[in-house]
């Protein structure tokens, strides 16, 4: 809502110290946030004064232009002993005797436009006659500003004040609960109340009793409980809108259209009551307000034929629909250039009905916005009469004494406020009962004694937001000011810190970052095309996506089921910026469609049933947190002492191991097959739980074809883990075993196996065979070559044996090693290498 300071102070008498900047601060602190203060004159320094053009000489120039050499009387600013200044002017839209705006030498206009006495076109031009745009008052540069003859100004006085440019206009963010502040009157009331000023309401006249004395109106819907009709006849359609009204409408952001329309808009801005003016000569028969029949049509003022819904509220007469109530008038009864007889409508419509209608027809307007927020229920008559009086005073019309009042004001509900200490308790400031009463009274609330020391509170017709006890508490808080509240830190019960899951997640992210991976956050949207580009089979579970009804992008209407597409896009972004050595990771939810049942929408007046709560929580997609990483380029860059190390599948496994170890888990691996990984370089990652391999993710090199379609560098390494599952499998505490203080005995063994045998199998057989004395085992060499036979490989392991209670003899270790080899031979056909 835009509101000029001068208009506010028409109704609010403020303390002298309350200048526009101070008032803006006070409004903001009371919840009416002033987002912008427009003040054209603030961008101008020096003098811009009213001048009277005494005479001028037209002087044709070589370039074909005709300039005017003017003598302008600027009163006290005339040069000493002279009765005017000589000024060159290029415009032609003025006559001798006209009053104009003159920027005097020394003035600086917007855009650092300095005015000086200077020689031009063979004269000394001693100032400048200004156009609207040059003063920053608008965009008009067709001619200079000429004051209308009825404006009372004299040469020499401040032209900016005369033009209203000294005024300050606020742009105020009015919250949805404060519909009454979508009016100058409402804002003026607040301004006066919060600064200790006085407010006089020009719209205090109550709605009279129902009367059908005027134009016949029938109300056929509960969505329109009140309709005031005022008729003004004999208006002069040729009268222009007075400049002060044009200016104020412009200040609040409205265009001047015609005097009658401007008056309805002006009164709406001032009172908050939207008005509609019908050409009374175009009406036929009684006005009837009713719901539309589905499929009925109406051509609105904007020449659009609109098909109506039975939820739309219509204004009709015998000819059919003549207006979409509260939203837009119909074309057939529109005011025209010849209209002399006007019927003014000031009605109250249901906020929800109007909100739905204007959205259905995509017709937001100043009127519908006000109806949606809730118009003052009691202002219709006063607003209709004010508009009628303006039509009389400015357009020469005659107000019909017979005013229609169809329906009546809907009474405001009375609240029994049982606990007068509630404001003190909720605000944390001591507010006495007397203060509660005086604040609420100042806000227009009728305060009466209620039962058991409580209060009966009836809000004024313009405050539909005051319903619950806490609404009244808020009103008191706003008027006291939240700055009056002394902060206090509440003492929470003794806490237990992070949950196990939260701590695990945090440790994992820290560990992965410390291990050299950079965390990124990507948008979780994707398209089916991206899943195709990953090479997923039709049956792949990652194709069971959750789709958005209103996606931001048509190409990405699904929610991610894997983090890899987002990470691949991040790789593309980095490589396009010449960042080639990448180790990225992301941790975030994926969304898995599992059918997820129906949602419920229980009543909100009480707690939902346990079954409903269960349904609310469970009828949602599965949303496990995944952790995924992608690597490209060099893991270790080459430097003077090292040739560098290109990323390989091992780095993907390294990330997974880092996660598992942080959680106290041993990561198991087996040869995996899954898109988008290289079929020979994909590790299925798991945890052995109760003897079972529980899959937790995959790691390895991205399939070269996938890398190619995603334009990823070769090789690209990817790993994706189900972090929630890993955390669920993590041991709770872990056990600290006593440490042996005896030295270890080490044995190396090289085993030849078939090339297809997994190293992990051999290792696991060795471990099982070696028994309890084996402390650790590590693969330190893999060899293939003719020496050991085609299709074979040699795996060399380092076995470390240790006993808790003694130093092992060489013989004991050898015997354990032989047992280990025997098991490997049995399970994997391993042969000790000669």
């Amino acid at each position: 809502m835009r509101a000029p300071y001068s208009w506010l102070t028409d109704f609010a008498r403020l303390d002298e110290s309350m200048d526009p900047v101070k008032l803006a601060g006070a409004l903001t602190e009371a919840g009416l946030q002033v987002e912008k203060i427009d003040s054209p004159a603030q961008a101008i320094s020096g003098l811009v004064v009213v001048g009277r053009v005494m005479e001028f000489v037209e002087e044709p120039q070589k370039n074909g232009k005709i300039i005017r050499w003017c003598q302008v009387d600027v009163g006290e600013h005339n040069p000493e002993g002279e009765s005017s200044r000589g000024i060159i002017c290029g415009a032609h839209n003025f006559q001798p005797g006209d009053l104009v705006a003159v920027a005097l030498p020394g003035a600086v206009l917007p855009g650092d436009f300095a005015i000086a006495s200077r020689k031009t076109y063979g004269h000394i031009s001693d100032g400048m006659i200004c156009a609207e745009d040059e003063l920053g008052l608008g965009t008009d540069h067709a001619g200079i500003i000429v004051f209308p003859p009825d404006v009372e100004v004299t040469p020499g006085e401040d032209a900016l004040a005369a033009l209203g440019a000294r005024d300050v206009t606020y742009e105020i963010d009015v919250t949805p609960d404060e519909g009454y502040c979508l009016s100058v009157r409402g804002l003026a009331r607040e301004a006066a109340q919060i600064t200790g000023g006085e407010f006089s309401d020009p719209y205090a006249a109550p709605v009279p009793a129902t009367s059908d004395a005027g134009y016949p109106v029938v109300l056929d819907t509960e969505d329109c409980p009140l309709f005031v009709g005022v008729r003004v006849s004999g208006i002069d359609p040729d009268r222009p809108t007075p400049p002060w009204m044009v200016r104020r409408l412009k200040d609040v952001g409205m265009r001047s259209i015609s005097l009658a329309v401007d008056i309805t808009n002006y009164v709406m801005m001032e009172s908050g009551q939207p008005l509609h003016a019908y050409d009374a000569s175009a009406l036929s028969g009684a006005i009837r307000v009713r719901h539309a029949h589905a499929g009925e049509t109406l051509t609105t003022l904007d020449h659009n034929a609109r098909v109506l819904s039975d939820e739309d509220v219509l204004i009709t007469d015998d000819s059919g629909p003549i207006g979409l109530a509260g939203v837009m008038g119909g074309l057939t009864t529109e005011l025209t250039a010849t209209t002399t007889d006007v019927l003014l409508e000031a009605a109250w419509f249901d906020p929800v009905a109007i909100g739905r209608t204007y959205r259905r027809h995509h017709l937001p307007s100043e009127a519908s916005r006000r109806f949606e927020r809730g118009v003052d229920r009691g202002v219709a008559f006063a607003a209709g009469m004010r508009a009628a009086e303006l039509l009389r005073d400015l357009a020469g019309g005659e107000i019909s004494q017979a005013v229609t009042v169809a329906g009546a004001v809907v009474p405001m509900p009375t609240r029994v406020f049982t606990d007068p200490t509630l404001p003190s308790r909720i605000l944390g400031v001591e507010v006495s009962l007397a203060r509660v009463e005086s604040i609420l009274r100042a806000s227009g609330v009728v305060v009466e004694a209620g039962p058991e020391g409580g209060l009966r509170l009836t809000p004024p017709t313009w405050r539909p937001d005051l319903v619950d006890d806490y609404d009244f508490v808020e009103e008191i808080g706003r008027k006291i000011g939240f700055s009056a509240i002394t902060p206090r830190v509440p003492v929470a019960p003794i806490g237990r810190g992070y949950t196990r899951e939260q701590m695990c997640r945090r440790s994992v992210l820290d560990a992965v970052a410390t291990a050299g991976f950079v965390e990124v956050i990507t948008l979780p949207f994707l398209g089916v095309a991206e899943l195709d580009r990953l090479g997923l089979d039709p049956a792949d579970e990652r194709r069971a996506t959750v789709r958005l009804a209103n996606p931001l992008s048509e190409t990405q209407p699904e929610l991610r089921t894997t983090l890899l597409p987002g990470l691949f896009a991040a790789v593309n972004r980095n490589t396009s910026r010449s960042l080639d050595d990448l180790a990225l990771f992301e941790c975030g939810s994926v969304f898995l469609n599992h059918g997820h049942g129906d949602q419920v929408m229980p009543e909100v007046s009480h707690r939902p049933t346990d079954a409903e709560v269960q349904q609310l929580f469970s009828a949602l997609p599965d949303q496990p947190r995944h952790l995924a990483g992608v690597l490209t380029g060099q893991w270790r860059p080459s430097d003077g002492s090292h040739p560098g190390e290109t990323v390989s599948w091992t780095h993907g496994v390294y990330l997974a191991q880092t996660v598992a170890e942080t959680l106290g888990l041993d990561l198991a691996r087996r040869q995996g097959t899954r898109q988008p990984w290289h079929p020979g370089r994909c590790a299925e990652l798991g945890v052995i739980n109760l003897g079972q391999f529980v899959t937790v993710g995959w790691a390895g090199q991205v399939h070269p074809s996938v890398a190619a379609v995603w334009e990823l560098p070769e090789p690209t390494i990817a790993v994706e883990l189900d972090l929630d599952r890993l955390i669920a499998l993590a041991p709770a505490n872990g056990t600290i075993t006593a440490l042996s203080s005896h030295p270890a005995t080490k044995q190396d063994v090289a085993l030849v196996v078939d090339g297809s045998v997994a190293a992990a199998e051999v290792q696991s057989a060795l471990r099982d065979g070696a028994g309890e004395l084996l402390e650790s085992i590590a693969l330190f060499d893999i060899f293939t070559g003719d020496q050991i036979g085609v299709g074979k490989k040699s795996l060399a392991y380092n076995l470390v044996f240790r006993a808790f209670d003694r130093t092992l003899t060489e013989a004991e270790a050898t015997s354990a090693r032989d047992a280990a080899v025997a098991e490997a031979t049995r399970r994997c056909g391993a042969v000790m290498r000669a």
């Binding site: 903001t28 919250t175 509240i485 291990a515 609310l616």
Partner: protein
């Protein structure tokens, strides 16, 4: 006897002279030579020892002691000169081993947490230190928990397809949560009172994607419901968080506002970090950071609307509470002067690396 002592003294003197020369040369070869010469088998004093057997017993003892004493002196001198030579040798070796310590030594570049993650950790730490708990909820959420439970009317504009991302079909009432507030509803439905929780996480809006708007961003939500809580507790808690985030000098303000789920409602503003309010009413010195308003909006807050408590079956005669929520991304912008929100989600590794993953 005189003759023998002179001989011994002479040998010692010669050794002293030779060792001095060795020390001067700092040479291992010279050291070995000098040792052989003065302490070896053929050293003068060793040769004298061999002749002791031919002396009379009393003379043998005196002479033997004198020779021993001479050898001790020489050995001590030798030890000194040997240490000196070794010190010089070691210095030489270390000099040869000198490397250029200014060359790159990157084994693998450090990783980093995203600034959002790091700041969420920091914010949660502040609340955990106060005894609060961290609550969580899903991003794809029930419309009821996101809106109805929080006193949004069925016609509230926030529910429109233009504002909220709905899962298909929209009639199934599933959405991507538009704020972290449904975690409030979940907490109230599942926790015993009192509750003091914060809930960080991702939220979604059908919003533009530009330097100051993202369709996906992060919020942290706070909720406390207990006996006797009100605006003063809210103010104290927010002041505490603001100081933890921005330092003790930060100035906050609660400005009345409107939210369906709080009443009274407020926005919490921070005194502009750049102009400190000086730009207000001074068009000659405008402030771009706060648009000359003197304050920067940080988040929304208020006393929990009793209707929200009612929807969770809580006795509003006994319990009251407060809630607040603010953008984590915005907080990072204020703390770290980030200017373009798109950098937060585009994955450029330089973005996360800048802060080294730490919210100090």
């Amino acid at each position: 006897m005189v003759d023998v002592n002179e001989q011994i003294d002479g040998a010692v003197a010669q050794a002293t002279k030779d060792f001095a020369l060795v020390a001067e040369q700092s040479s291992r070869e010279a050291l070995v030579r000098a040792r052989n010469c003065h302490l070896g088998k053929e050293a003068p004093l060793r040769l004298m020892q061999r002749t002791l057997g031919s002396l009379a017993p009393d003379e043998r003892k005196a002479t033997g002691s004198a020779i021993q004493a001479g050898l001790k002196v020489i050995e001590a001198q030798y030890a000194q000169v040997e240490a000196a030579v070794e010190a010089v040798e070691l210095a030489g070796q270390l000099a040869r081993e000198t490397v250029d310590v200014t060359t790159d030594v990157t084994l693998h570049p450090r990783g980093a947490l995203h600034p959002i993650t790091a700041l969420i950790n920091r914010m949660c730490d502040v609340f955990v230190a106060m005894g609060w708990q961290i609550a969580e909820g899903p991003e794809a959420e029930a419309e009821w928990l996101n809106f109805d439970a929080l006193n949004f009317t069925p016609d509230h504009p926030a529910r429109f397809l233009s504002d909220t991302l709905f899962l298909d079909p929209p009639e199934a009432h599933r959405i991507l949560r538009t704020h972290t507030s449904p975690v409030q509803a979940r907490t109230l439905l599942t926790h015993d009172l009192p509750v003091y929780v914060v809930a960080p996480g991702k939220v979604y809006r059908a919003d533009e994607y530009d330097a100051t708007h993202l369709p996906v961003f992060h919020q942290i939500e706070g909720l406390a419901v207990d006996k006797g809580l009100g605006m003063a507790d809210l103010k104290g808690t927010l002041d505490h968080l603001a100081k933890a985030m921005f330092g003790d000098e930060v100035v906050t303000r609660l400005r009345p506002h409107y939210f369906p789920f709080t009443e009274p409602s407020a926005e919490v503003d921070l005194r502009c970090f750049v102009c400190h309010g000086a730009s207000v009413g001074d068009p000659a010195h405008p402030c771009r950071t706060c648009k000359s308003e003197g304050w920067i909006e940080w988040g929304g807050c208020g006393v929990v609307n009793p209707r929200v408590l009612q929807a969770a079956g809580i006795d509003t005669e006994v319990y009251s509470g407060f809630a607040f929520g603010m953008g984590v991304d915005r907080t990072v912008m204020f703390r770290n002067n980030a200017s373009d929100l798109r950098d937060f989600v585009e994955g450029d590794i330089r973005f996360s690396r800048q802060l080294r993953g730490v919210a100090r």
